[in-house]
Amino acid sequence: MSGPATPTASNPFRRRGLRVDPFFAVTWLAALATVASLVWIVASILHQAWPAIQKTGAGFFVNSVWDSNRERFGAFPYLMGTVLSSVIALLIALPLGVGIAIFLSENFLPVPARQAIRFVVEMLAAIPSVVYGLWGIAVVIPLVQRWGGLLADHVGFLPLFKGPAYGNSMLTASLVLSLMVLPTITAIGRTALATVPKTLREGSYAVGATRWETIFGILLPTAAPGIVAATILAFGRAMGETMAVAMLIGNSPRLNWSLLSPAGTLASLLANQFAEASGIQVSALMYAAFTLVLLTLLVNMLGEFVLRRAQRATAGLR
């Protein structure tokens, strides 16, 4: 990347005395403010959370009772709900997303048809979260109620599918979440597949491999780092997703291992309680927000790191 920077000395018309371009100072300040904003976000949340941190300490992460009336704040169920709903969403979205990415990067369909599908998947990303929630209430909740009841009747002996089955449940939220992270996985996965050098594919065909032997043996392993990065970034998105989850998961503060029961996530907790919170409860919610920020920052940093390494690795193949 050839940066457009040229030495300032190259301008013969600049007056000797004026060494600092005032506009430079303005942009420098803006850049500084941008960097400061993230620090400011984390610091202000930490500042507000401080009373709760002092009060509950690390017990916040292991206690499982959240009762604002008795001022007991244990976020463990929400923490579990956040991780579990995101993991389930990814388990559903990953095969689908990679499947679509393969479908779009191979020549099964003519280019216009592929562009149409790509456009449709990108549209999924443009639909507001709250509309997913509304749709989930109208469509997914009845579906989960009907089929969840059957699941509970027949495989209810598994702790994951223990009845009674509710419509507002972990499963409902995870299903809708999987739809919402699908575009992320597809977009990054497709880019990873598209950057696999053509020569590798041609070599594979030349030694007589079929198309899918080439996909499984050559393309996917080569693109694997990119797909892993896509998964991690999608995981970060799923953990922070708020509105659709808050509308569908049932927001129960109780720890429950069944996918068919209501649960809660850190984000849905914030969405539900913040507007009416007061006193130490605000601080406890800030603590939950701080936990969520740290989690997503860590996951996203890891994702960016893997993505960068993946890009460097495929660049070396050329």
Binding site: F13, N107, A138, A267, L297
Partner: protein, 298 residues
């Protein structure tokens, strides 16, 4: 990209049993992959269909001009929610656009290799990954706690945090897309750095920057979580930016949970308006960009 033609079209009668098995496995995966890809189109069409079908029922001119009905009552509209959404998105743009574009100018034009530029890029990437509800928590901590009340301004600040990385990163791409030769020509004619940026680089990059701003609008308009407990909601028209403000997204969230069919119907209509708004912003973004494409050189 259509690359080497895959040998999938080989007819099944060629070869021995093992080869036939390989070819049927090939066919199996193709069908499975195509099936799964089309399966994912089903929910999307379901969403679009339901939003259109349920949203069109109440879509009359009065919906845009009237206030939301009290629980259980009929009639009314989402006028103040549209107003609130537009006002808060405008506040977000006023705050985020200058900051984003100026930062982009710094990291592209002034000091692309500096440590600060690296920090800005890294921060922008991380900011895109921050959950939108955290923007709300931040605005709550900074604006609501300080001023002591929920307000449209707080909602705007929350949305600005959300819009900033979008504006910044797309502006950076826009500036990178301006051919280096143009800058050299400008310097060659004796223009200063400032003149080059303002007279040559920015006009060239403006359409692509507009794309970024419109993408930010689309992203900010659709968000609920940042405004949920910063702007809160209001049953009335917005009179000033220091008052609580209604928004389309919070209206959908509130009404979706009510037990009254009319309110739920109104939530669908608000969804239709919101999706139309977001799509319009996205399409404008694409148009602004594609108009530039032909003449663009690296």
């Amino acid at each position: 990209m259509s690359s080497a033609a895959a040998p999938a079209a080989l007819s099944l009668k060629v070869g021995n049993r093992r080869d036939r098995a390989r070819l049927s496995a090939n066919l199996f995966w193709t069908v499975l992959c195509a099936g799964l890809s089309f399966l994912t189109l089903v929910p999307l069409f379901s969403i679009v269909y339901l939003v259109l079908r349920n949203g069109l029922v109440l879509l009359r001119p009065s919906v845009f001009t009237e206030l939301p009905p009290a629980p259980g009552l009929e009639g009314g509209g989402v006028g103040n929610a549209i107003q609130g959404t537009l006002v808060m998105v405008a506040i977000a743009l006023v705050l985020a656009t200058p900051l984003g574009i100026l930062s982009a100018i710094y990291i592209c034009e002034y000091a692309p290799l500096s440590r600060l530029a690296g920090a800005v890029r890294f921060n922008a990437k991380l900011l895109t990954g921050i959950p939108s509800i955290i923007c709300g928590v931040f605005a709550y901590a900074v604006v609501v706690v300080t001023t002591g009340s929920f307000s449209a301004l707080a909602g705007g600040v929350a949305l600005a945090v959300l819009a900033l990385p979008t504006v910044l990163l797309t502006s950076e791409q826009a500036l990178l897309g301006v051919p280096y030769a143009l800058r050299e020509a400008s310097y060659g004619l004796g223009a200063s750095r400032f003149q080059t940026i303002f007279r040559v680089v920015l006009p060239e990059a403006r359409p692509a920057m507009m794309t970024g701003v419109m993408l930010a609008v689309a992203r900010a308009a659709g968000e609920t979580a940042p405004v949920l407990f910063t702007a809160l909601f209001s049953e009335y028209w917005l009179k000033g930016i220091m008052q609580p403000a209604a928004s389309l997204s919070v209206l959908i969230f509130n009404f979706a949970g009510l037990p009254y069919p009319h309110q739920i119907q109104l939530a669908w209509t608000a969804s239709l308006i919101l999706v139309a708004l977001v799509t319009a912003a996205n399409v404008t973004a694409q148009l602004a960009f594609t108009k530039r494409q032909p003449g663009k050189k690296r």
